[in-house]
Amino acid sequence: MSQQHVLTSIEEASKVIGKTWPLYSFVTSNPLAGYEQSSFKEAIQSAKEHLGAQIFPEASVYRQALNQGEIQREALSKLLKENGFDQAPEYYLDVMESAKSTEEVNVQHDLDRMMAKWLAAFMDEGLAEWEMPGKKEGFYQAWRKLAKYDKELGITYENVIPKNSSEALREALKDHPHDEYTNIFTYHLASMPGWTGYINYRSESNSLWQQKYPISLQDYLGVRLWIAHHWKMEIVPTKEESKVDLDSMKLQYVWLKAWEKSWQNELLNLLEKESIQENNASLDAQLVFCIDTRSELIRRHIESKGSYETFGYAGFFGIAMDYKSIEDGQIRKSCPPIVASAYQVSEVPQAKKEQSFQRFERRNKQLKFGKYFLKRMKNMLPSAFGFVEGSGFFYGLILMARTISPRYLYRIKQKYATSHETFCEPELQHIAKHKSETLDIPLIEKVAIVKSAFDLLGWSQFARLVLFVGHGSHTANNPFGSSLDCGACAASPGRHNARMLASLANEPEVRKSLQEDHDIVIPESTIFIGGEHNTTTDDIVLFDSEVPYSHREDLRKLKADLKLAQGTATQDRLQVKNNSIEKAEEKANYWGETRPEWGLAKNAGFIVGPRALTKNKNLESKCFLHSYDWKQDSTGKALEGIMQGPMVVTQWINNHYYFSTVDNSTFGGGSKITHNITGKFGVVQGNGGDLKMGLPLESIKKSDDEMYHAPLRLSVLIQAPLARIEEILSRNENLQKLLDNEWIYLMVMDPLNENEIKRYSRGLEWIQSTAQKKVGAVGAKKVKEVILEEVFA
């Protein structure tokens, strides 16, 4: 048996698992990313077969959508008929409702439990003071050394266990033919998709923990299959008659499509309404937000407060950087996971502010010591007992304080939070691959970063104040806090990227070069400022400590308007008339709040085009908005960049939400109320078990029974000439595949053809939108064919 064959089989089998991201940088990725080369339909079928997962919304969710008018009756009936379902929708709801998922005794219970126990112990990232002995030698070796003490395993001598994982696999698989390997591996990887997904994450990211304590899927399979072999268990999955009921799947799929279609119709109807065009002669300020769906709301409310122009741009602001925190010295990724970091940003004191900087560092060290001190006192004997008696009273006091006045505590926290932005400025450097490399950035690279922002966004004039506003969420007692931060910054807050871009754009040499070499003229009176949109409270903080006196008055007015916008935005979002800001602040800081904000829930669309297309229209935070002006992008390079980057990332986010919603216990995190944090990086449910890999129930549902997020695949709408898009798609096979495989929808609004909307259909075919009611007989026929073919041929 060749080692190569084993590795290939593992690789092939690992398609079934996604990546479980650590909760401190929760990237919303597609749990079925392994199948993105296949069609959506194949992917979900495989997920159903191997993971036993739900793959479509439950019947009760469809019922709610139908009752609330989210599924248009007309569209649904039509689709049902076309696919041979002749009864009324309610009939099919009852049919779907009659199928319930069941609970079965887990045949691999002991094996799963054993693995969960050792994996949790090994992969801990510092929660336990006493770490698993021998971790440095890797998972297999560490386990092998300890296994003989584990009574449940039933081994007395270490030598009974093979010396390494490939020998263990060889022994366990000796009675099985080679072509069964992939099947066996798939089965055993899929039995704990959360933990194996985390192994996957660790080996791909090669985190510091992985470097020091290595673990691989082969180690996992080695231990697992050897134990199974030792316990004389059957390691090949028992062939159940695959009960995949194609008819019922087809029915569910038709409902999904009808829902998606209904939403697209609604969107197109909304966009067709005439916008009220405003005269932008004198702009008060321009603000650039992340494409995040939450920006749509705040942009709408800011625009209504004055002459403000807003843009949407991927929230890492085009800087492929890592950020070194001044607080803990750790370096975190701050750009999309699909982009390799080229730069590192760290904090240096502003001119004449070294003293504050030193004071901050000193205080920071003392805070760290405080934490260490508490941990020491709690862990040691006998101080643990003395400590509880001496400090119990104080705990009683904070218990009371956090119960009664979360909002007051929030205000205090905000007031005394040492915001290092007031005395620091970000510094951009290269990430050196070799020691000899210089870290300094040549001017040309800085210019390129700034230029590409203006290129992509379709910028035409500059206001006196231009704001780059990243976003971050502020929540308390929330293991999933980072899932609410900026997805484009690898689940970090985007504020540092925003500050960095502002600082680059303020550099005189950069501006000079932009003017001389690229014809981009930035008036001298224009000042760039970084900021952060707090998505939990809709507060916008500006990092304005270096803004010159001349702009003070402009800034004051802007801040006043932002405050007003916060008020109306929170009213809109929380659906309350009075004290909406207070309410939002309470949500941000109350420890008993499991739904502090909704994150990207309800996302369903991605619109690429100028703001004029969507301005003054309430998109209800359902759309990602990327600014783009086809007229300024003659080569199509900018659009290609948007489709390769942001479009792919939004698809991940959207699919993550889809799967977390349709099967929250498999692909999501389950309910927060019984979560148990493990190893500082993840959660398990209750007493333990598999690591949870996705968003919790509270992020996607209003209650146990009521839906909030509508699980719809992403509909992308681009305003650009059709020919240009066809060109881009034929150049990028992966993008075309994403469309052909139905992971997303694409609609094109062609400005060269009276803004007519065409929908993409397999193999670069285009169908005229039915919403525009211009469809000829041919078009209608084609729609029907396509659907019939797609739905389970």
């Binding site: 005794v105 060290k365 119990g392 333990g688």
Partner: protein, 486 residues
């Protein structure tokens, strides 16, 4: 269809009423309790209603504490469990649980006492399995229920045996008449009661239920760790004279002390937050039982209250443990002679202050033991502070006394308050003469301290596995079932 809908609506309307009303009610009861407590302290009234009801300082103390916890926790749960299918049921169980605890300390009749004890267990196991749609939670509920029934069974045996032997069902009469019962009766009864107590407190070897109870929603866990496990402290305080009369205190000392040490080691290797907190609770309960074994039932009650604050806080904030970190080795810094002197001096001063303020350890008796622990704690705190580089010399000298003076001061305040309120209970603060067992145990404790300090345990792999398996939850509550979609 319509009818069904309106029915559901009225159901959910009623549920939301319950969800809002119960926290409010609990705050009201808490305030009422607190007012009575203050009145009691000032006026010292006699509150007996016939033979059945006996309200004294202890009743009001425990009543205030338990209503405080359940008010805070139900208030938290009001938002935390929002949208949970069994939200209203949680509130009702929380309320009933609170009533069970109050009735435990209010009624003078042994049958009512047993009933309260039984109901506490029933409510708690219902909370553990509140999500009936989750098979592992149902298993955990059943599993814990078996423990609680065992506890109730032993308690009934012990108490009813005493009642029949002394021909009275009134607790007060039963306690005052203990002197006339034969020694064997006393021993058997007290052993039964001890079993009931240590089951409730998850003391080894009955610890497994607590480690299997994480299927309860977080606020239910907070209630469990702040208001349920420490029921044993209350029980033992009520039966303190029996424990003295039967000479079983050393047994408590041994069981409690061993549990305290082992569980504290077990805590160090936990990788799940809630399991870690559970091990810590087991250790703290061990310590509380040990305090009983030293004759300081009042100290045990003070401990259970303070630990309740501490543990409720940690559970309610247990979502805060996510953090990205780097692998690192703990630093081992050698202490300099001058620093050692400071540590020693502060330790001794701490002990003296403690002894002065609480009256413990002033004479050559079992109180010495508790004072010693305070001295070491102060020493450990000082040790950590003096070797810290980021602090200035002034800070190093000022901070330790500030910390331990406020800590000891507040503790003494609590302790003396509890003692005052427990004055109606016989024999709750009787220091024992120093016995061999105590000395042996003091030594064991010191050894445990040094093993931990030096970190040698980390070099013993089999101990790791032993402790890991000792602290695993009941098997059927983990990964026992798989759901299958159709």
């Amino acid at each position: 269809m319509k009818q069904k809908n309106s029915l559901q609506n009225s159901d959910s309307y009623r549920a939301s009423g319950v969800i809002k009303a119960i926290p409010l009610l609990l705050w009201l009861i808490f305030s009422g309790n607190l007012v009575c407590l203050l009145y009691y302290l000032v006026v010292e009234p006699e509150w007996s209603f016939g033979n059945l009801v006996n309200i004294n300082g202890f009743t009001l103390l425990i009543g205030s504490i338990v209503t405080f916890f359940s008010a805070v926790i139900s208030n938290y749960a009001k938002t935390y469990l929002h949208g949970f299918k069994y939200h209203a049921r949680f509130m009702v169980l929380c309320l009933l649980f609170t009533f069970s605890v109050i009735s435990l300390v209010t009624f003078n009749h042994v049958v009512l006492l047993l009933l309260s004890w039984f109901l506490m267990g029933v409510m708690m196991s219902k909370l553990i399995g509140i999500n009936t749609g989750w098979a592992e939670a149902r298993q955990a509920s059943k599993f814990t229920q078996r423990y609680f029934l065992t506890g109730s069974f032993f308690l009934s045996i012990g108490v009813l045996f005493l009642a029949f032997q002394s021909n009275t069902f009134l607790l007060s009469e039963l306690i005052s008449g203990l002197g006339e019962l034969p020694k064997l009766t006393l021993i058997l009864a007290s052993l039964s009661i001890i079993v009931a107590a240590i089951v409730q407190s998850a003391i080894f070897p009955f610890h497994r239920w607590l480690l299997s109870a994480m299927t309860a929603p977080t606020p239910a866990s907070a209630l469990m760790h702040a208001g349920f496990v420490n029921g044993s402290g209350i029980l033992l305080a009520l039966f303190a004279p029996l424990l003295f009369a039967s000479n079983t205190l050393d047994l408590l000392l041994i069981i409690g002390g061993l549990t305290a040490i082992i569980a504290q080691f077990t805590k160090l290797l936990q990788v799940n937050v809630k399991q870690k907190l559970a091990c810590s609770t087991i250790a703290q309960m061990g310590f509380m039982i040990m305090q009983c074994g030293l004759g300081f039932f009042n100290a045990a009650v003070a401990h259970l209250i303070l630990h309740g604050f501490y543990k409720a806080y940690l559970f309610l904030s247990s979502g805060e443990e996510i953090a990205s970190s780097k692998p690192q080795k703990p630093l081992h810094i050698k202490i300099k002679p001058l620093q050692a002197v400071v540590v020693l001096v502060f330790g001794i001063v701490g002990a003296i202050v403690f002894a002065q303020l609480t009256g413990k350890g002033m004479a050559w008796d079992s109180g010495i033991f508790l004072t010693l622990i305070v001295a070491i704690t102060v020493g450990q705190a000082t040790y950590n502070i003096v070797k810290q580089k980021s602090l200035s010399t002034v800070q190093k000298i000022v901070i330790p006394p500030l910390l331990f003076m406020s800590g000891i001061g507040l503790y003494a305040f609590m302790y003396n308050g509890v003692t005052l309120l427990m004055k109606d209970l016989p024999m709750v603060a009787v220091p024992l003469p120093i016995t061999t067992v105590q000395i042996v145990f003091g030594v064991v404790f010191l050894i445990g301290f040094f093993i931990m300090k030096l970190g040698v345990y980390q070099k013993v792999p089999w101990l790791y596995v032993k402790f890991m398996n000792l602290s695993q939850p009941y098997q059927k509550t983990v990964l026992m079932y798989k759901s299958k979609s159709l």
